[in-house]
């Protein structure tokens, strides 16, 4: 990968024979062993590894569930209960998969907001960032279709509301919705195709993740200072430093995950989804899963169907333009006093939107949703472009090493002296 030549030297004759035919060991070595990692990375940089673990966990539990699940409207709900009651450890597989989706989103939101705080989307990481936005979109589509599969009341009405979003498109909207449904309403054909796509999309995510990691390894990791690696002393080799840290963080995250699975497995779900789908009755209060709530609040804040759909889509699309909306040349919020305040204000607005998305669409909640929605877009479209022009950033350190020696962020000060000089550095 990228320009830096691998330092991998095959030792045995068999390894040499193999390497000259498929140099995969060298690729792994240069990407995950010798790869230079900024020595001041915090635990916020372990979420990429956690996310890869979660994707793998979801695929494995999902494949096992698919061996027992029946994607047919009259049997889907029963087959999920069959998994819960009759299949050996079926309850565990299902709770792992259902809560795994939430854990996946917790990790991805931390990962995204870390990128926003430290300016990880700025040149030369624009493509890396956009690939991340694509992964996020695919994750949302996958999670949505997965939630439909148990065919409970929330599944059915969630599917109805979300597919109806497409009917807002002028002229071709109704045709598109009918192609999504495979019928005149959400029904068995819809369920069957959602199952097929729910099985497909994670593998597409895995493909984009490969591109994401590839792009990362071309441009290198950002770090809490935002200052690039300038010499070998700024970096440590991926193995063992990042490897062990990623593994440790992943294990801690899995313990957190296990707490949900074993102690409050239904806390993040909705009781209504244990009622079989009924096309004649909508639950009095329908809400999406927690990870969609901010976007749902934006949808409901706009008193116009097409406008609401466009605003909700725009809230995600705007992320892809972030590298160009932020005009500041300083990456890390640690050196941007004003941006840091706006960043936290933005975080509060996102959490507020999430809370509002779970509230009924009436009275003060609607007004609050509109204010928060407005601020969401103002942050991206007004604040970020202007801030780069008016803000005076704090002086940047001359190198990562300088901040480490000054005892600031990073915590790598205790590294053995030799460790910093090892990795091969590209320009």
């Amino acid at each position: 990968m990228s320009q830096h030549a691998t330092t991998y030297v095959p030792k045995s004759a068999a390894a040499k024979w193999f390497e000259s035919r498929l140099p995969i060991a060298g690729l792994v070595h240069s990407s995950f062993v010798a790869f230079p990692v900024p020595r001041n990375l915090t635990y916020f940089w372990t979420f990429g590894a956690i996310l890869i673990f979660m994707l793998g966990a979801q695929i494995v539990t999902g494949v096992w569930l698919a061996m027992h699940y029946v994607p047919e409207a009259t049997r889907a709900f029963e087959s999920v209960e069959h998994i819960m009651r009759d299949v050996n450890y079926g309850w565990l597989l299902r709770y792992l998969h259902a809560n795994g989706a939430s854990m996946f989103f917790i990790a991805v939101y931390i990962h995204i907001f870390r990128g926003m705080y430290y300016g990880s989307y700025k040149a030369p990481r624009e493509i890396l960032w956009i690939l991340g936005v694509i992964i996020f979109l695919l994750m949302m589509a996958t999670a949505f279709m997965g939630y439909v599969l148990p065919w409970g009341q929330m599944s059915f009405w969630g599917a109805t509301v979300i597919t109806n979003l497409f009917s807002a498109i002028p002229l071709v909207g109704d045709t598109i919705v009918s192609l999504l449904w495979g019928g005149y309403s959400v029904g068995s054909p819809t369920l069957n195709r959602f199952f097929a796509l729910h099985y497909l999309l994670p593998f597409m995510i895995a493909g984009v993740v490969v591109l994401h990691v590839w792009a990362l390894h071309v441009v290198g990791q950002n770090n809490p200072t935002g200052v690039p690696i300038k010499s070998g002393k700024d970096a440590v080799p991926f193995t063992p430093y990042a490897t062990i840290k990623d593994l440790f963080a992943t294990i801690v995250f899995v313990m957190f995950f296990a707490w949900w699975v074993f102690f409050v497995p239904n806390y993040l779900g909705h009781a209504d989804n244990y009622i079989p789908a009924n096309p004649a009755v909508t639950p009095a209060h329908i809400v999406p899963e927690w990870y969609f709530l901010p976007f749902y609040a934006i949808l409901r804040a706009i008193p116009d169907k097409l406008g609401g759909v466009l605003a909700m889509g725009g809230a995600i699309v705007v992320l892809a333009f972030l590298p160009w909306l932020d005009t500041s040349r300083v990456r890390s919020a640690n050196y941007r006093p004003l941006y840091r305040q706006f960043f936290w204000a933005f975080c509060v607005v996102c959490v507020l939107l999430g809370w509002l998305g779970a509230k009924p669409a009436e009275g003060g909640y609607v007004i609050a949703s509109r204010i928060c929605t407005a601020w969401y877009f103002i942050h991206f479209l007004v604040v970020l472009p202007l801030l780069g022009l008016f803000e005076t950033p704090k002086p940047l350190p001359s190198s990562i090493l300088e901040t480490v020696h000054a005892g600031r962020k990073g915590g790598g000060a205790g590294l053995p002296v030799g460790a910093a000089a090892e990795p091969s550095i590209k320009g």
Binding site: W157, G183, S185, P279, L306
Partner: protein, 189 residues
């Protein structure tokens, strides 16, 4: 027309092959894409299940709303009271978001029965009957308010609850899924 710039190199056999191959390939790709898209559309079984259904109006008391399904879609059959009919008719149609007189939404001579699709035109939830400011329907999902004619009055829904095709077979029976071609005949009879 046939003259090209003299500086341009003459077209070679390879140019011809590239264009011809590209054109045939593009047509082929489009031809293959068609069945894939068409297979997403409602299949023959689903379409066949959309045959008209008959609803007996006899047991529906005044003020009652009955839910029936046609083509998997929910339909409200509402036996309106005189007060509800009056409320639906006494409206300045021009002020409505989707202007339609009540008379255009019921069959002539059968104003006591309103037949409309039962999914909110916003995002498809089932509105609750006899609720909301106009005592028509209120959608709990996103707050759309419909009147006793199923017309949108407040909230995000863009249009009125649509009226499905249906016809009165007799005074106490309707057939949903078939637009009346015998309207004039019934009127004459």
């Amino acid at each position: 027309m046939a003259t090209t710039a003299t500086a341009a190199p003459p077209a070679t056999r390879r140019d011809f092959l590239l264009i011809a191959t590209g054109a045939v390939g593009a047509v082929g790709a489009a031809a293959v894409a068609w069945p894939f898209v068409a297979a997403l559309a409602p299949d023959a079984q689903t379409v066949a299940a959309g045959a008209p259904v008959e609803v007996d109006l006899g047991p529906i008391a005044a003020g009652q709303i009955v839910k029936v399904f046609w083509r998997g879609k929910l339909i409200f059959v509402r036996h309106r009271t005189d007060a509800e009919i009056k409320a639906a008719e006494d409206v300045n149609v021009a002020t409505l978001p989707d202007p339609q007189p009540d008379s255009a939404r019921v069959k002539q001579g059968h104003a006591n029965f309103l037949v409309v699709y039962g999914n909110c035109t916003h995002l498809g939830c089932v509105p609750l009957g006899n609720e909301g400011a106009f005592k028509g329907w209120f959608c709990p999902c996103h707050g759309s308010v419909f009147d006793t004619s199923g017309r949108i009055r407040q909230g995000p829904a863009p249009i009125n609850l649509p009226v499905p095709p249906y016809t009165f077979v007799s005074d106490t029976k309707i057939r949903i899924g078939e637009e009346s071609k015998t309207a004039t005949k019934t009127a004459a009879a």
